[in-house]
């Protein structure tokens, strides 16, 4: 797992999170083989302070926002296990069209 362990976790931004971040994605937690969602989000907020408050509330998505792991399951639980190579999507919970 060494190769994966150094690849980090990709955080992808959608909607307002993308606007605030000013980019579509960043890679955090390089060198870790496994971590928690909360630590991924804290690392993202440290790199992109614009996300704190509006999109992130400490180690959780802010109210009205969700994290999604690898484009499958949605969660807001900071203890959700995350592995190197995973993609964490940060997006608004409201998908009304």
């Amino acid at each position: 797992m060494d190769g994966e362990g150094t690849s980090g976790v990709t955080v992808e931004f959608f909607g307002i999170a993308r606007q605030r971040a000013g980019r579509t994605r960043i890679v955090v937690c390089r060198g870790l083989e496994s971590t928690r969602l909360g630590d991924v989000l804290l690392a993202a907020a440290e790199r992109l302070p614009e996300l704190a408050g509006e999109c992130l509330d400490g180690s959780r998505p802010q109210d009205g926002y969700l994290a999604n792991i690898n484009a499958r399951r949605f969660t807001t639980d900071p203890d959700t296990p995350i592995r190197a190579g995973d993609h964490v999507l940060l997006l608004a919970a409201d998908a009304g069209g």
Partner: protein, 605 residues
């Protein structure tokens, strides 16, 4: 006449055949039991619709309904509902629209306008507190709704402070089964209400007046209106204000839930060409809003030569973007904007239009039909087919009946991939990737519909897995449907949803100072169940059978091939079990019929 604050206490019943009208008082208890908008309209429609009526016959009623909140300072409350039996589905159809027509319509002094019969020639119905007038619309017949509205307003002048007009375009005149009713470039879009209006040779309805309702506690109403407006400018609505719903396209694509090429897939390789950033790359986007709205979610993109410069360009939302873009395999933003403008001009529902053309494209690619040039990705062919549908020319004449009817005629395997439920084309939520939404589509009284069910909210939550559709899906699907039916009855814009901590309690709080009713969240939840059941009872009376509550075969047989929802497909047994559980949760039989004692308990017998 004493009445409940927030209401006028009566509706206007107009007979176009007889050229007469009369006022009808609401029976005791009806307003509190059905509220307004879609709820009150359902009550009227049940009362006024003969069983088994042809939706396009004179006997079929067309109902415009306002609501208790219209005219109040509550943000996003300037909305109205239009209801009729849908020519597309043969089932109940309630579509909502916005803006000044709601305010002026309520100022006529009526809570609803019910129209029956059919005029002898093209007619504009003029409604004011002085009564009704039937004016010739021969000179507007054939025009788009925008030009019609302007001409009627100019002709009627400044009487009563000026008129507001809802009108049909050429598609409504030609009875296209998914024609819209339009007002200020906003549409009562789904289910073909424009065809019902066209069948009555009613080109336009003009409303004006000075009758205002009282409110039970005006001071408190102003207080909570201020608070709601403030909250409406917070983070919960930032997406709608800054990006608009078009932003869904990129997100849905990443999740593999973006319907593509007639629902053959959930990922569109060229989606980035239709992202908000791409759409505004060489265009100056502007933003506008419905009347009395602080959010302003409407993002307008200029399109040279669209004839829409006067109104500021083309209003793009996720649904017209997905339906005229990825669903037809079209990635050229100019083609999508032009197609959207053409649908507006003709008066066509963009979802059903895009879905009908995408369906025809797949039929053509499979060799089931021979339509020169109509292939996925061909924007010019799409534009040409939109014109043919709106004018009922050649293949467009068949597609104008919707995908269910077209598949019945085309035959072969086409029925397995005709993208509809109960005849209503599926909106931009891929059901294999969003399986709570799939349940919402299947049981929806209007057909495949994301506005009445809203079950995609359950998919976009940690509550259940969106692809696994676990047993815990039923309760939240019922809950969000109940919340939606209340919002559609009050009527409030759904984009306000996020500002309420508890939506039902929040709506009860808004209703109290308007009406003076000491309404509790529990009462509102029961009201929601009553309205959903009333819609179901209407459908049963019009011939509904349990076999209608399903989705096209494609979704059970073809797993999604790539992307975030790779491998997802619907399990027929699981969906059937969920439908039974949903029905029982509603107090119906497992098959979905409403027992007599349930009707009695809800006051619907």
């Amino acid at each position: 006449m004493s009445t409940v604050p927030g209401y006028h206490g009566r509706y206007l019943r107009v007979d176009l055949s007889e050229r007469t009208s009369r006022e009808v008082p609401w029976p005791d208890g009806v307003l509190r039991s059905f509220l307004g908008g879609g709820g009150l309209g359902t009550w009227v429609l049940r009362r006024e619709t003969p069983d088994g009526v042809d939706p396009l016959s004179p006997e079929s009623p067309l109902v415009f309904v306002f609501s208790p909140l219209v005219g109040s300072p509550l943000t996003t409350s300037a909305k109205f509902a239009v209801l009729a039996k849908s020519p597309l589905t043969g089932r109940i159809n309630d579509s909502l629209s916005s803006s000044h027509f709601a305010i002026s319509g309520k100022r006529t002094g009526y809570d609803a306008i019910v129209i029956v019969g059919a005029a002898e020639g093209a007619t504009t119905l003029v409604v004011t507190p002085d009564g009704v007038r039937f004016e010739s619309a021969e000179t507007e017949w054939g025009l788009g709704s925008r030009e019609t509205g302007q001409r009627v307003r100019d002709r009627l002048g400044g009487e009563w402070g000026g008129f507001r007009v809802a009108a049909i375009g050429p598609a409504g005149e030609r009875l296209v089964h998914f024609a819209t009713i339009s007002h200020d470039a906003r549409h009562a879009g789904r289910g073909g209400l424009g065809a019902v209006m066209g069948s009555k040779r009613l080109k336009a309805i003009a409303v004006a007046g000075d009758r205002v309702v009282s409110f039970a506690d005006p001071g408190r109403l102003v207080e909570i209106s201020r608070d709601l407006s403030k909250r409406s400018l917070g983070p919960a609505t930032a997406k709608y204000r800054e990006l608009g719903t078009v932003d869904n396209l990129v997100t849905f694509n990443r999740l593999g839930s973006l319907p593509t090429r007639n629902f053959q897939g959930g990922v569109f390789a060229e989606a980035s060409m239709l992202s908000p950033e791409s759409l505004e790359a060489d265009r100056d986007r502007t933003r506008t809003s419905c009347a009395a709205c602080t959010i302003g979610c409407e993002h307008i993109f200029p399109l040279a030569g669209s004839g829409q410069e006067e109104g500021g360009g083309v209003r793009m939302e996720y649904e017209n973007l997905f339906a005229l873009g990825p669903l037809c395999g079209v990635s050229d933003p100019r083609a999508v904007l032009a197609a959207s403008a053409l649908c507006d001009e003709l008066g066509l529902d963009t979802i059903s239009t895009g879905a009908s053309i995408a369906f025809a494209m797949e039929c053509a690619e499979r060799g089931l039909v021979e339509i020169p040039g109509l292939r996925f990705g061909n924007g010019d062919a799409m534009l040409s087919m939109i014109d043919d549908i709106g004018n009922r020319r050649e293949w467009g004449d068949l597609l104008a009946e919707g995908t269910r009817a077209a598949a019945e005629r085309i035959g072969g395997e086409s029925q397995s991939f005709a993208p509809h439920v109960k005849g209503l084309e599926i909106p931009g939520y891929e059901p294999r990737a969003l399986q709570a939404m799939a349940l919402g589509f299947a049981v929806g009284t209007r057909g495949a519909d994301h506005n009445r069910s809203g079950a995609y909210e359950v998919d976009f939550s940690p509550e259940v897995g969106r692809i696994d559709a676990e047993p815990g899906t039923i309760e939240p699907v019922v809950r969000v449907e109940d919340e939606a039916v209340l919002m559609d009855s009050l009527i409030l814009c759904k984009f306000l949803r996020g500002v309420f901590e508890d939506r039902v309690a929040g709506m009860a709080e808004l209703l109290r100072p308007v009406t003076g009713w000491d309404v509790s969240p529990e009462e509102l939840r029961e009201t929601a169940g009553r309205i959903v059941t009333a819609k179901k009872a209407y459908n049963i009376a019009q011939g509904w059978t349990p076999a209608e509550d399903t989705l096209p075969q494609r979704f059970f047989e073809e797993p999604l091939g790539e992307g975030g929802s790779q491998g997802a497909q619907l399990d027929p047994d699981r969906l059937a079990a969920q439908i039974r559980a949903y029905n029982l949760q509603r107090g119906w039989t497992a098959e979905g019929y409403v027992p007599e004692d349930r009707l009695v308990a809800l006051g619907l017998a």
